[in-house]
Protein backbone atom coordinates (compact mmCIF):
# COMPACT_ATOMS: atom_id res chain seq x y z
CA UNK A 1 0.00 0.00 0.00
CA UNK A 2 0.93 3.66 -0.33
CA UNK A 3 3.74 2.82 -2.70
CA UNK A 4 3.75 6.41 -3.95
CA UNK A 5 5.09 7.47 -0.55
CA UNK A 6 8.07 5.25 -0.97
CA UNK A 7 8.83 6.25 -4.52
CA UNK A 8 8.58 9.97 -3.93
CA UNK A 9 12.04 11.55 -4.14
CA UNK A 10 13.56 12.18 -0.74
CA UNK A 11 13.80 15.77 0.41
CA UNK A 12 15.48 17.08 3.56
CA UNK A 13 12.04 18.30 4.58
CA UNK A 14 10.66 14.79 4.54
CA UNK A 15 13.57 13.45 6.60
CA UNK A 16 12.94 16.22 9.10
CA UNK A 17 9.20 15.59 9.15
CA UNK A 18 9.46 11.84 9.69
CA UNK A 19 12.21 12.30 12.27
CA UNK A 20 10.22 14.82 14.25
CA UNK A 21 7.14 12.59 14.25
CA UNK A 22 9.32 9.84 15.71
CA UNK A 23 10.98 12.30 18.09
CA UNK A 24 7.61 13.38 19.47
CA UNK A 25 6.51 9.74 19.85
CA UNK A 26 9.75 9.08 21.66
CA UNK A 27 9.10 11.96 24.06
CA UNK A 28 5.56 10.75 24.74
CA UNK A 29 6.83 7.21 25.29
CA UNK A 30 9.43 8.47 27.76
CA UNK A 31 6.79 10.35 29.75
CA UNK A 32 4.43 7.35 29.81
CA UNK A 33 7.33 5.10 30.75
CA UNK A 34 8.24 7.46 33.61
CA UNK A 35 4.74 7.01 35.02
CA UNK A 36 4.78 3.21 34.91
CA UNK A 37 6.43 1.01 37.47
CA UNK A 38 6.01 -0.68 40.81
CA UNK A 39 5.35 2.57 42.63
CA UNK A 40 2.40 4.71 41.55
CA UNK A 41 3.33 8.05 40.05
CA UNK A 42 0.70 10.13 38.27
CA UNK A 43 1.15 12.02 35.00
CA UNK A 44 0.60 15.23 36.93
CA UNK A 45 3.48 14.39 39.26
CA UNK A 46 5.79 13.57 36.35
CA UNK A 47 4.98 16.81 34.53
CA UNK A 48 5.23 18.89 37.68
CA UNK A 49 8.61 17.40 38.41
CA UNK A 50 10.08 18.83 35.24
CA UNK A 51 8.38 22.22 35.32
CA UNK A 52 8.23 23.23 38.95
CA UNK A 53 9.85 20.49 40.91
CA UNK A 54 9.26 21.30 44.57
CA UNK A 55 5.60 20.32 45.02
CA UNK A 56 6.12 16.61 44.51
CA UNK A 57 6.61 14.00 47.21
CA UNK A 58 10.31 13.35 47.75
CA UNK A 59 10.05 9.58 47.29
CA UNK A 60 8.20 9.95 43.97
CA UNK A 61 10.78 12.48 42.79
CA UNK A 62 13.57 10.09 43.64
CA UNK A 63 11.93 7.13 41.96
CA UNK A 64 11.27 9.03 38.76
CA UNK A 65 14.49 11.02 38.51
CA UNK A 66 17.07 8.66 40.04
CA UNK A 67 15.70 5.26 39.10
CA UNK A 68 13.39 5.43 36.11
CA UNK A 69 14.92 8.28 34.13
CA UNK A 70 18.51 6.91 34.08
CA UNK A 71 17.15 3.55 33.07
CA UNK A 72 15.01 4.98 30.28
CA UNK A 73 17.94 7.03 28.97
CA UNK A 74 20.19 3.98 28.95
CA UNK A 75 17.53 1.90 27.21
CA UNK A 76 17.03 4.64 24.64
CA UNK A 77 20.72 5.09 23.89
CA UNK A 78 21.24 1.33 23.74
CA UNK A 79 18.33 0.80 21.35
CA UNK A 80 19.51 3.77 19.28
CA UNK A 81 23.03 2.37 18.88
CA UNK A 82 22.12 -1.27 18.32
CA UNK A 83 19.49 -0.46 15.73
CA UNK A 84 21.73 2.00 13.88
CA UNK A 85 24.54 -0.55 14.04
CA UNK A 86 22.27 -3.18 12.52
CA UNK A 87 21.24 -0.88 9.70
CA UNK A 88 24.83 0.03 8.85
CA UNK A 89 26.08 -3.56 9.04
CA UNK A 90 23.27 -4.72 6.78
CA UNK A 91 24.17 -2.10 4.20
CA UNK A 92 27.92 -2.69 4.42
CA UNK A 93 27.65 -6.47 4.12
CA UNK A 94 24.53 -6.43 1.91
CA UNK A 95 23.06 -9.11 4.10
CA UNK A 96 19.71 -8.96 5.90
CA UNK A 97 21.05 -11.04 8.79
CA UNK A 98 23.86 -8.69 9.74
CA UNK A 99 23.48 -7.03 13.12
CA UNK A 100 25.85 -6.39 16.03
CA UNK A 101 24.61 -9.46 17.88
CA UNK A 102 24.73 -11.93 14.98
CA UNK A 103 28.14 -10.68 13.84
CA UNK A 104 29.51 -11.32 17.31
CA UNK A 105 30.39 -7.67 17.97
CA UNK A 106 28.11 -7.56 21.03
CA UNK A 107 29.53 -10.70 22.59
CA UNK A 108 33.05 -9.55 21.70
CA UNK A 109 32.27 -6.38 23.61
CA UNK A 110 30.87 -8.40 26.52
CA UNK A 111 34.02 -10.54 26.44
CA UNK A 112 36.10 -7.38 26.69
CA UNK A 113 33.98 -6.17 29.61
CA UNK A 114 34.37 -9.47 31.46
CA UNK A 115 38.14 -9.36 30.95
CA UNK A 116 38.11 -5.83 32.28
CA UNK A 117 36.21 -6.90 35.39
CA UNK A 118 38.55 -9.85 35.97
CA UNK A 119 41.63 -7.66 35.59
CA UNK A 120 40.04 -5.25 38.02
CA UNK A 121 40.04 -2.09 35.94
CA UNK A 122 37.74 0.70 37.09
CA UNK A 123 34.15 0.40 36.00
CA UNK A 124 33.57 3.95 34.79
CA UNK A 125 36.28 4.17 32.12
CA UNK A 126 38.23 0.92 32.13
CA UNK A 127 35.45 -1.56 31.45
CA UNK A 128 33.92 0.40 28.54
CA UNK A 129 37.39 0.73 27.05
CA UNK A 130 37.97 -3.03 27.25
CA UNK A 131 34.51 -3.53 25.85
CA UNK A 132 35.31 -1.33 22.87
CA UNK A 133 38.56 -3.23 22.25
CA UNK A 134 36.60 -6.51 22.39
CA UNK A 135 34.15 -5.18 19.80
CA UNK A 136 36.99 -4.02 17.53
CA UNK A 137 38.79 -7.33 17.87
CA UNK A 138 35.64 -9.17 16.83
CA UNK A 139 34.93 -7.07 13.78
CA UNK A 140 38.58 -7.40 12.78
CA UNK A 141 38.41 -11.19 13.14
CA UNK A 142 35.14 -11.46 11.23
CA UNK A 143 36.33 -9.30 8.35
CA UNK A 144 39.72 -11.02 8.13
CA UNK A 145 38.14 -14.46 8.08
CA UNK A 146 35.68 -13.50 5.37
CA UNK A 147 38.05 -11.46 3.17
CA UNK A 148 38.52 -12.86 -0.30
CA UNK A 149 40.20 -11.45 -3.37
CA UNK A 150 37.01 -9.72 -4.43
CA UNK A 151 36.45 -8.13 -1.05
CA UNK A 152 34.45 -9.30 1.94
CA UNK A 153 32.09 -12.15 1.21
CA UNK A 154 28.91 -11.38 3.06
CA UNK A 155 27.61 -14.91 3.66
CA UNK A 156 31.04 -15.90 5.00
CA UNK A 157 31.03 -12.82 7.24
CA UNK A 158 27.73 -13.90 8.81
CA UNK A 159 29.03 -17.43 9.32
CA UNK A 160 32.27 -16.11 10.79
CA UNK A 161 30.24 -13.83 13.05
CA UNK A 162 28.12 -16.69 14.34
CA UNK A 163 31.24 -18.73 15.09
CA UNK A 164 33.12 -15.86 16.76
CA UNK A 165 29.97 -15.13 18.75
CA UNK A 166 29.82 -18.73 19.98
CA UNK A 167 33.51 -18.64 20.84
CA UNK A 168 33.34 -15.48 22.94
CA UNK A 169 30.14 -16.60 24.64
CA UNK A 170 31.93 -19.83 25.55
CA UNK A 171 34.84 -17.89 27.06
CA UNK A 172 32.45 -15.77 29.11
CA UNK A 173 30.61 -18.89 30.31
CA UNK A 174 33.96 -20.41 31.23
CA UNK A 175 34.87 -17.43 33.38
CA UNK A 176 31.49 -17.42 35.03
CA UNK A 177 31.66 -21.16 35.76
CA UNK A 178 35.16 -21.04 37.21
CA UNK A 179 35.04 -17.75 39.01
CA UNK A 180 34.63 -17.88 42.74
CA UNK A 181 33.82 -14.22 42.89
CA UNK A 182 30.18 -13.63 43.61
CA UNK A 183 30.25 -10.58 41.43
CA UNK A 184 30.84 -12.72 38.39
CA UNK A 185 27.85 -14.88 39.21
CA UNK A 186 25.61 -11.87 39.09
CA UNK A 187 27.09 -11.11 35.68
CA UNK A 188 25.15 -14.00 34.27
CA UNK A 189 22.08 -11.86 34.48
CA UNK A 190 23.98 -8.97 32.97
CA UNK A 191 24.80 -11.14 29.96
CA UNK A 192 21.11 -11.54 29.24
CA UNK A 193 20.83 -7.79 29.08
CA UNK A 194 20.09 -5.84 32.22
CA UNK A 195 19.30 -2.16 32.43
CA UNK A 196 18.18 -2.14 36.04
CA UNK A 197 21.37 -0.80 37.59
CA UNK A 198 21.50 2.34 35.49
CA UNK A 199 22.86 5.60 36.72
CA UNK A 200 22.47 8.90 34.98
CA UNK A 201 26.26 9.12 34.71
CA UNK A 202 26.26 6.17 32.31
CA UNK A 203 24.13 8.08 29.85
CA UNK A 204 26.45 11.03 30.33
CA UNK A 205 29.31 8.89 29.08
CA UNK A 206 27.37 7.22 26.27
CA UNK A 207 25.33 10.11 24.87
CA UNK A 208 28.19 12.20 23.38
CA UNK A 209 29.76 9.14 21.74
CA UNK A 210 26.44 7.99 20.34
CA UNK A 211 25.54 11.41 18.96
CA UNK A 212 28.98 11.88 17.45
CA UNK A 213 28.81 8.36 16.01
CA UNK A 214 25.43 9.09 14.50
CA UNK A 215 26.66 12.32 12.88
CA UNK A 216 29.69 10.54 11.45
CA UNK A 217 27.66 7.63 10.10
CA UNK A 218 25.05 10.00 8.69
CA UNK A 219 27.73 11.73 6.65
CA UNK A 220 28.22 8.36 4.96
CA UNK A 221 24.52 7.80 4.28
CA UNK A 222 24.89 8.35 0.50
CA UNK A 223 27.86 6.00 0.42
CA UNK A 224 25.76 3.40 2.19
CA UNK A 225 23.03 3.78 -0.44
CA UNK A 226 25.57 3.04 -3.14
CA UNK A 227 27.29 0.26 -1.19
CA UNK A 228 23.97 -1.43 -0.57
CA UNK A 229 23.50 -1.54 -4.33
CA UNK A 230 26.86 -3.27 -4.76
CA UNK A 231 30.48 -2.55 -4.00
CA UNK A 232 31.56 -2.51 -7.60
CA UNK A 233 28.88 -0.01 -8.55
CA UNK A 234 29.90 2.17 -5.63
CA UNK A 235 33.51 2.01 -6.71
CA UNK A 236 32.58 3.09 -10.21
CA UNK A 237 30.59 6.00 -8.86
CA UNK A 238 33.67 7.28 -7.11
CA UNK A 239 33.18 6.04 -3.54
CA UNK A 240 36.35 5.22 -1.66
CA UNK A 241 34.83 1.90 -0.63
CA UNK A 242 37.55 0.66 1.71
CA UNK A 243 37.78 3.95 3.57
CA UNK A 244 34.01 4.26 3.96
CA UNK A 245 33.70 0.68 5.21
CA UNK A 246 36.63 1.08 7.58
CA UNK A 247 35.22 4.21 9.21
CA UNK A 248 31.70 2.79 9.46
CA UNK A 249 32.84 -0.50 11.00
CA UNK A 250 35.00 1.28 13.59
CA UNK A 251 32.27 3.75 14.48
CA UNK A 252 29.62 1.07 14.95
CA UNK A 253 32.03 -1.04 17.02
CA UNK A 254 32.73 1.93 19.25
CA UNK A 255 29.04 2.61 19.82
CA UNK A 256 28.13 -1.03 20.36
CA UNK A 257 31.14 -1.70 22.58
CA UNK A 258 30.15 1.21 24.77
CA UNK A 259 26.48 0.37 25.17
CA UNK A 260 27.15 -3.33 25.74
CA UNK A 261 29.50 -2.52 28.60
CA UNK A 262 26.62 -0.77 30.38
CA UNK A 263 23.58 -2.75 29.40
CA UNK A 264 24.78 -6.24 28.49
CA UNK A 265 23.83 -8.40 25.55
CA UNK A 266 20.50 -7.44 24.05
CA UNK A 267 19.67 -9.15 20.79
CA UNK A 268 17.00 -8.57 18.19
CA UNK A 269 16.92 -4.77 18.23
CA UNK A 270 19.52 -4.41 15.48
CA UNK A 271 17.66 -6.87 13.32
CA UNK A 272 14.07 -5.93 13.81
CA UNK A 273 14.02 -2.15 13.76
CA UNK A 274 16.09 -1.56 10.60
CA UNK A 275 14.04 -4.10 8.69
CA UNK A 276 10.80 -2.59 9.89
CA UNK A 277 12.01 0.83 8.79
CA UNK A 278 12.97 -0.53 5.39
CA UNK A 279 9.66 -2.28 4.92
CA UNK A 280 7.78 0.89 5.65
CA UNK A 281 10.02 3.62 4.21
CA UNK A 282 12.13 2.12 1.47
CA UNK A 283 15.87 1.89 1.17
CA UNK A 284 17.28 5.40 1.30
CA UNK A 285 19.72 5.55 4.20
CA UNK A 286 19.39 9.30 4.55
CA UNK A 287 15.91 8.62 5.87
CA UNK A 288 16.52 5.16 7.29
CA UNK A 289 19.32 6.22 9.61
CA UNK A 290 17.40 8.66 11.81
CA UNK A 291 14.29 6.48 11.63
CA UNK A 292 16.07 3.27 12.62
CA UNK A 293 18.00 4.97 15.39
CA UNK A 294 14.99 6.72 16.92
CA UNK A 295 12.84 3.65 16.33
CA UNK A 296 15.43 1.49 18.10
CA UNK A 297 15.39 3.85 21.07
CA UNK A 298 11.60 3.77 21.16
CA UNK A 299 11.45 0.00 20.84
CA UNK A 300 13.92 -0.71 23.61
CA UNK A 301 12.31 1.79 25.98
CA UNK A 302 8.93 0.11 25.45
CA UNK A 303 10.49 -3.35 25.86
CA UNK A 304 12.32 -2.38 29.03
CA UNK A 305 9.24 -0.75 30.51
CA UNK A 306 7.39 -4.02 29.90
CA UNK A 307 10.31 -5.97 31.39
CA UNK A 308 10.12 -4.06 34.65
CA UNK A 309 6.33 -3.93 34.96
CA UNK A 310 4.72 -7.19 33.80
CA UNK A 311 5.76 -9.32 36.78
CA UNK A 312 6.41 -6.44 39.18
CA UNK A 313 7.95 -6.28 41.78
CA UNK A 314 10.24 -8.82 40.11
CA UNK A 315 11.42 -8.22 36.59
CA UNK A 316 12.21 -10.06 33.38
CA UNK A 317 15.41 -9.84 31.36
CA UNK A 318 14.75 -7.25 28.66
CA UNK A 319 15.89 -9.71 25.97
CA UNK A 320 12.84 -11.83 26.74
CA UNK A 321 10.58 -8.92 25.87
CA UNK A 322 12.45 -7.79 22.75
CA UNK A 323 12.14 -11.26 21.26
CA UNK A 324 8.63 -11.86 22.54
CA UNK A 325 7.23 -8.57 21.21
CA UNK A 326 9.49 -8.36 18.23
CA UNK A 327 9.35 -11.77 16.64
CA UNK A 328 5.59 -12.13 16.00
CA UNK A 329 5.26 -8.55 14.76
CA UNK A 330 8.24 -9.04 12.51
CA UNK A 331 6.87 -12.28 11.08
CA UNK A 332 3.54 -10.60 10.42
CA UNK A 333 5.19 -7.80 8.47
CA UNK A 334 7.44 -10.20 6.64
CA UNK A 335 4.43 -12.21 5.50
CA UNK A 336 2.18 -9.30 4.57
CA UNK A 337 4.68 -6.88 3.07
CA UNK A 338 7.77 -8.86 2.21
CA UNK A 339 11.27 -7.70 2.81
CA UNK A 340 12.96 -5.09 0.65
CA UNK A 341 15.82 -7.51 0.33
CA UNK A 342 13.75 -9.92 -1.69
CA UNK A 343 12.55 -7.39 -4.21
Amino acid sequence: MDSHIIRRPLTPGRVLKVSSILGVSLAVTIIISLMLGTANVSLEDVLRMFFHGSQVKESARLIVLKIRLPRIFLAGLTGFSLSLGGLVFQALLRNPLADPFVLGVSSGAAFGAVMGIILGVGFSIGVPLFSFCGALLTIYLVLTISRRKMGVESATAILAGVIVNAFFTAIIMFFIATSSEDRLHSMLFWLYGDLSQSQIAYSGIIAPVVLFGFALLYSFSRHLNLLAAGEEAALHLGVNVERAKFICFITVSLMVGLVVSFSGLIGFVGLIVPHLSRMILGSDHRLLMPVSALGGALFLIVADTAARTVISPSELPVGVITAFLGAPFFIYLLKTRGSRWTR
Binding site: A39, S59, L62, I63, K66, S180, D182, Q197, R308, P313
Partner: protein
Protein backbone atom coordinates in the same frame (compact mmCIF):
# COMPACT_ATOMS: atom_id res chain seq x y z
CA UNK B 1 -12.34 -5.98 87.75
CA UNK B 2 -9.35 -7.87 88.99
CA UNK B 3 -8.23 -8.87 85.50
CA UNK B 4 -8.06 -5.27 84.42
CA UNK B 5 -5.46 -4.16 86.93
CA UNK B 6 -2.47 -5.49 84.95
CA UNK B 7 -3.82 -3.65 81.92
CA UNK B 8 -3.95 -0.38 83.90
CA UNK B 9 -0.40 -0.92 84.98
CA UNK B 10 0.56 -1.70 81.46
CA UNK B 11 -1.01 1.53 80.22
CA UNK B 12 0.63 3.50 82.96
CA UNK B 13 3.96 2.04 82.07
CA UNK B 14 3.37 2.83 78.43
CA UNK B 15 2.52 6.44 79.24
CA UNK B 16 5.66 6.64 81.31
CA UNK B 17 7.70 5.27 78.45
CA UNK B 18 6.18 7.76 76.02
CA UNK B 19 6.97 10.53 78.51
CA UNK B 20 10.57 9.40 78.72
CA UNK B 21 10.68 9.31 74.96
CA UNK B 22 9.66 12.96 74.78
CA UNK B 23 12.15 14.01 77.41
CA UNK B 24 15.04 12.43 75.54
CA UNK B 25 14.35 12.84 71.86
CA UNK B 26 18.02 12.58 70.91
CA UNK B 27 18.34 8.83 70.88
CA UNK B 28 20.42 9.20 67.75
CA UNK B 29 23.03 6.46 67.45
CA UNK B 30 25.76 5.81 64.95
CA UNK B 31 26.86 2.33 63.98
CA UNK B 32 29.61 1.08 61.68
CA UNK B 33 28.57 -1.69 59.32
CA UNK B 34 30.43 -4.47 57.49
CA UNK B 35 31.47 -2.08 54.71
CA UNK B 36 32.86 0.38 57.27
CA UNK B 37 30.05 2.76 56.48
CA UNK B 38 28.64 4.95 59.22
CA UNK B 39 24.92 4.45 59.71
CA UNK B 40 23.03 6.89 61.91
CA UNK B 41 19.58 6.28 63.27
CA UNK B 42 17.43 8.92 64.90
CA UNK B 43 15.30 6.37 66.75
CA UNK B 44 14.93 2.61 66.83
CA UNK B 45 13.65 1.59 63.39
CA UNK B 46 9.97 0.77 63.05
CA UNK B 47 9.78 0.06 59.31
CA UNK B 48 12.50 -2.37 58.26
CA UNK B 49 13.14 -3.80 54.81
CA UNK B 50 15.27 -6.95 54.74
CA UNK B 51 17.28 -7.69 51.61
CA UNK B 52 18.11 -11.34 52.29
CA UNK B 53 16.14 -14.36 53.51
CA UNK B 54 18.68 -14.94 56.30
CA UNK B 55 18.24 -11.39 57.62
CA UNK B 56 14.45 -11.76 57.53
CA UNK B 57 14.82 -14.89 59.64
CA UNK B 58 17.04 -13.05 62.12
CA UNK B 59 14.55 -10.20 62.48
CA UNK B 60 11.75 -12.67 63.20
CA UNK B 61 14.00 -14.61 65.57
CA UNK B 62 14.49 -11.38 67.51
CA UNK B 63 10.72 -10.99 67.68
CA UNK B 64 10.77 -7.99 65.35
CA UNK B 65 8.54 -9.52 62.68
CA UNK B 66 5.90 -6.82 63.00
CA UNK B 67 8.48 -4.14 62.20
CA UNK B 68 9.38 -5.80 58.92
CA UNK B 69 7.62 -4.05 56.02
CA UNK B 70 9.39 -5.63 53.06
CA UNK B 71 11.31 -8.82 52.28
CA UNK B 72 12.93 -10.52 49.28
CA UNK B 73 11.20 -13.04 47.03
CA UNK B 74 12.70 -16.09 48.72
CA UNK B 75 12.12 -14.95 52.30
CA UNK B 76 9.85 -17.85 53.16
CA UNK B 77 10.65 -18.46 56.81
CA UNK B 78 8.88 -18.14 59.15
CA UNK B 79 5.79 -18.65 56.96
CA UNK B 80 4.29 -15.30 57.93
CA UNK B 81 7.39 -13.57 56.51
CA UNK B 82 6.39 -14.83 53.06
CA UNK B 83 3.25 -12.70 53.24
CA UNK B 84 5.16 -9.42 53.59
CA UNK B 85 5.46 -7.16 50.52
CA UNK B 86 8.21 -8.32 48.18
CA UNK B 87 11.02 -6.07 47.00
CA UNK B 88 12.47 -8.38 44.33
CA UNK B 89 15.02 -11.11 44.77
CA UNK B 90 18.20 -11.07 46.80
CA UNK B 91 20.49 -10.39 43.82
CA UNK B 92 17.99 -8.41 41.81
CA UNK B 93 16.23 -5.80 43.86
CA UNK B 94 13.47 -3.43 42.92
CA UNK B 95 14.67 -0.12 44.36
CA UNK B 96 11.42 1.62 43.49
CA UNK B 97 9.47 -0.78 45.64
CA UNK B 98 11.86 -0.33 48.56
CA UNK B 99 11.56 3.45 48.44
CA UNK B 100 7.79 3.23 48.13
CA UNK B 101 7.61 1.19 51.34
CA UNK B 102 9.16 4.19 53.08
CA UNK B 103 11.44 2.22 55.42
CA UNK B 104 13.49 3.78 58.23
CA UNK B 105 16.08 1.01 57.98
CA UNK B 106 17.20 -1.34 55.23
CA UNK B 107 19.43 -4.29 56.13
CA UNK B 108 21.43 -6.05 53.43
CA UNK B 109 24.38 -8.38 52.97
CA UNK B 110 27.83 -7.60 51.65
CA UNK B 111 28.06 -10.16 48.86
CA UNK B 112 24.46 -10.23 47.75
CA UNK B 113 23.34 -6.66 47.43
CA UNK B 114 24.83 -4.42 44.80
CA UNK B 115 26.65 -1.16 45.57
CA UNK B 116 24.37 0.62 43.10
CA UNK B 117 21.30 -0.27 45.14
CA UNK B 118 22.97 0.86 48.36
CA UNK B 119 23.98 4.09 46.67
CA UNK B 120 20.45 4.79 45.41
CA UNK B 121 18.91 4.10 48.82
CA UNK B 122 21.44 6.38 50.47
CA UNK B 123 20.48 9.13 48.07
CA UNK B 124 16.88 8.55 49.10
CA UNK B 125 17.97 9.27 52.67
CA UNK B 126 17.22 5.72 53.81
CA UNK B 127 19.73 4.27 56.31
CA UNK B 128 21.23 1.05 54.92
CA UNK B 129 23.06 -1.30 57.26
CA UNK B 130 25.17 -4.00 55.63
CA UNK B 131 26.12 -7.21 57.42
CA UNK B 132 28.44 -9.98 56.31
CA UNK B 133 27.82 -13.29 58.08
CA UNK B 134 30.06 -15.85 56.38
CA UNK B 135 30.71 -18.39 59.14
CA UNK B 136 28.48 -20.12 61.64
CA UNK B 137 29.90 -18.07 64.48
CA UNK B 138 29.08 -14.85 62.58
CA UNK B 139 25.38 -15.64 62.84
CA UNK B 140 25.41 -14.86 66.56
CA UNK B 141 27.39 -11.64 66.20
CA UNK B 142 25.27 -10.46 63.28
CA UNK B 143 22.15 -11.24 65.27
CA UNK B 144 23.50 -9.16 68.13
CA UNK B 145 24.42 -6.26 65.82
CA UNK B 146 20.93 -6.22 64.36
CA UNK B 147 19.36 -6.38 67.81
CA UNK B 148 21.42 -3.39 68.94
CA UNK B 149 20.44 -1.48 65.82
CA UNK B 150 16.76 -2.12 66.50
CA UNK B 151 16.94 -1.21 70.17
CA UNK B 152 16.57 -4.73 71.58
CA UNK B 153 20.20 -5.18 72.58
CA UNK B 154 19.54 -7.33 75.66
CA UNK B 155 17.41 -9.81 73.79
CA UNK B 156 20.04 -10.00 71.06
CA UNK B 157 22.77 -10.66 73.60
CA UNK B 158 20.73 -13.43 75.21
CA UNK B 159 19.79 -15.15 71.96
CA UNK B 160 23.26 -14.92 70.45
CA UNK B 161 24.72 -16.40 73.64
CA UNK B 162 22.24 -19.22 73.43
CA UNK B 163 23.31 -19.93 69.85
CA UNK B 164 26.97 -19.82 70.85
CA UNK B 165 26.31 -22.33 73.64
CA UNK B 166 24.64 -24.72 71.25
CA UNK B 167 27.59 -24.52 68.86
CA UNK B 168 29.98 -25.05 71.75
CA UNK B 169 28.00 -28.07 72.96
CA UNK B 170 28.25 -29.76 69.56
CA UNK B 171 31.93 -28.95 69.28
CA UNK B 172 32.68 -30.41 72.71
CA UNK B 173 30.78 -33.58 71.84
CA UNK B 174 32.58 -34.30 68.59
CA UNK B 175 36.02 -33.29 69.87
CA UNK B 176 38.65 -35.96 69.33
CA UNK B 177 36.32 -38.21 67.36
CA UNK B 178 37.26 -39.61 63.98
CA UNK B 179 35.90 -37.31 61.31
CA UNK B 180 33.93 -39.02 58.54
CA UNK B 181 34.36 -37.90 54.94
CA UNK B 182 31.17 -36.09 53.91
CA UNK B 183 29.92 -35.45 50.42
CA UNK B 184 27.37 -32.64 50.36
CA UNK B 185 25.27 -32.49 47.22
CA UNK B 186 23.52 -29.15 46.77
CA UNK B 187 22.18 -29.80 43.28
CA UNK B 188 20.95 -33.08 41.83
CA UNK B 189 21.73 -32.71 38.15
CA UNK B 190 24.44 -31.75 37.48
CA UNK B 191 25.97 -32.84 40.77
CA UNK B 192 27.17 -29.68 42.49
CA UNK B 193 28.97 -29.50 45.82
CA UNK B 194 30.79 -26.84 47.86
CA UNK B 195 34.41 -26.02 48.69
CA UNK B 196 35.87 -24.60 51.88
CA UNK B 197 34.84 -21.00 51.20
CA UNK B 198 31.23 -21.69 52.04
CA UNK B 199 29.16 -21.68 55.17
CA UNK B 200 28.16 -25.29 54.38
CA UNK B 201 31.79 -26.30 54.83
CA UNK B 202 31.82 -24.59 58.19
CA UNK B 203 28.74 -26.53 59.30
CA UNK B 204 30.28 -29.85 58.22
CA UNK B 205 33.51 -29.06 60.06
CA UNK B 206 31.75 -28.00 63.26
CA UNK B 207 29.53 -31.09 63.11
CA UNK B 208 32.67 -33.22 63.19
CA UNK B 209 33.07 -34.17 59.54
CA UNK B 210 35.39 -33.45 56.64
CA UNK B 211 34.00 -31.92 53.47
CA UNK B 212 35.07 -34.14 50.58
CA UNK B 213 35.40 -31.21 48.17
CA UNK B 214 36.92 -28.67 50.57
CA UNK B 215 40.05 -28.17 48.50
CA UNK B 216 38.36 -27.64 45.14
CA UNK B 217 39.37 -24.29 43.62
CA UNK B 218 35.83 -23.37 42.59
CA UNK B 219 33.36 -22.31 45.27
CA UNK B 220 30.44 -24.36 43.94
CA UNK B 221 32.13 -26.99 41.78
CA UNK B 222 30.25 -29.30 39.46
CA UNK B 223 31.59 -32.75 40.18
CA UNK B 224 31.35 -35.99 38.20
CA UNK B 225 29.86 -39.21 39.50
CA UNK B 226 33.22 -40.80 38.78
CA UNK B 227 34.95 -38.42 41.16
CA UNK B 228 32.52 -39.29 43.95
CA UNK B 229 33.12 -43.01 43.35
CA UNK B 230 36.85 -42.41 43.49
CA UNK B 231 36.86 -40.41 46.71
CA UNK B 232 34.57 -42.83 48.56
CA UNK B 233 32.69 -40.54 50.97
CA UNK B 234 31.42 -42.13 54.19
CA UNK B 235 28.32 -39.98 54.38
CA UNK B 236 26.32 -38.41 51.55
CA UNK B 237 24.11 -35.46 52.45
CA UNK B 238 21.68 -34.17 49.86
CA UNK B 239 20.60 -30.66 50.67
CA UNK B 240 17.18 -29.94 49.29
CA UNK B 241 14.04 -28.01 50.09
CA UNK B 242 11.67 -30.78 49.08
CA UNK B 243 11.16 -34.18 50.59
CA UNK B 244 10.01 -37.34 48.81
CA UNK B 245 9.81 -37.50 45.03
CA UNK B 246 12.95 -36.10 43.56
CA UNK B 247 15.00 -36.75 46.66
CA UNK B 248 13.98 -40.40 46.84
CA UNK B 249 14.95 -40.67 43.20
CA UNK B 250 18.37 -39.14 43.90
CA UNK B 251 18.81 -41.51 46.84
CA UNK B 252 17.92 -44.49 44.67
CA UNK B 253 20.42 -43.26 42.07
CA UNK B 254 23.18 -43.33 44.68
CA UNK B 255 22.10 -46.77 45.89
CA UNK B 256 23.36 -48.32 42.66
CA UNK B 257 26.96 -47.55 43.61
CA UNK B 258 27.73 -50.00 46.38
CA UNK B 259 31.43 -49.25 46.22
CA UNK B 260 30.79 -45.94 47.98
CA UNK B 261 31.03 -46.55 51.76
CA UNK B 262 28.14 -44.16 52.42
CA UNK B 263 25.90 -46.26 50.18
CA UNK B 264 27.05 -49.59 51.62
CA UNK B 265 26.36 -48.40 55.16
CA UNK B 266 23.07 -46.80 54.11
CA UNK B 267 24.22 -43.32 55.12
CA UNK B 268 22.65 -41.18 52.40
CA UNK B 269 20.58 -38.44 54.03
CA UNK B 270 18.44 -35.47 53.17
CA UNK B 271 18.84 -32.22 55.09
CA UNK B 272 16.69 -29.10 54.60
CA UNK B 273 18.89 -26.83 52.49
CA UNK B 274 17.65 -23.69 54.22
CA UNK B 275 19.25 -24.97 57.44
CA UNK B 276 22.60 -25.46 55.73
CA UNK B 277 23.06 -22.50 53.43
CA UNK B 278 21.36 -19.56 55.09
CA UNK B 279 23.45 -17.82 57.71
CA UNK B 280 20.40 -17.54 59.94
CA UNK B 281 19.68 -18.92 63.44
CA UNK B 282 18.26 -22.04 61.79
CA UNK B 283 21.77 -22.99 60.67
CA UNK B 284 22.34 -24.06 64.27
CA UNK B 285 19.48 -26.55 63.80
CA UNK B 286 21.24 -27.69 60.64
CA UNK B 287 24.47 -28.09 62.58
CA UNK B 288 22.76 -30.18 65.26
CA UNK B 289 20.99 -32.35 62.69
CA UNK B 290 24.21 -32.93 60.80
CA UNK B 291 26.17 -33.72 63.97
CA UNK B 292 23.60 -36.41 64.84
CA UNK B 293 23.86 -37.91 61.36
CA UNK B 294 27.66 -37.91 61.37
CA UNK B 295 28.00 -39.27 64.90
CA UNK B 296 24.90 -41.40 65.56
CA UNK B 297 26.63 -43.39 68.33
CA UNK B 298 26.89 -40.40 70.65
CA UNK B 299 24.31 -39.57 73.29
CA UNK B 300 22.62 -36.38 72.10
CA UNK B 301 20.40 -34.78 74.69
CA UNK B 302 17.36 -32.86 73.45
CA UNK B 303 19.14 -31.85 70.33
CA UNK B 304 17.74 -30.93 66.98
CA UNK B 305 14.39 -29.81 68.32
CA UNK B 306 13.58 -27.28 70.95
Amino acid sequence: MKGKIPIYFGLLFLAFAIGLWNVSPTWSMTYVDALDRRVSLERPPKRIVSLAPSLTEMLYYLGLGDRVVGVTTFSDYPPEAARKPKVGSYAHLNVEKIIELNPDLVVGTKDGNSPTVIHLLEQAGIPVYIVNPRRVKDVGTTLYDMARLCGVEEKGRLLSQRLAHKVQYVQDKVKGLRRPLVFLQINLRPIITVNKNTIHNDVIRLAGGINMAENEPITYPTISLEEVLKRRPEVIVISSMERGGRFEKARQDWMRWKSIPAVRENRVYLVDSDCLDRPSPRIIDGLETLARLLHPDLEWEGLGRE
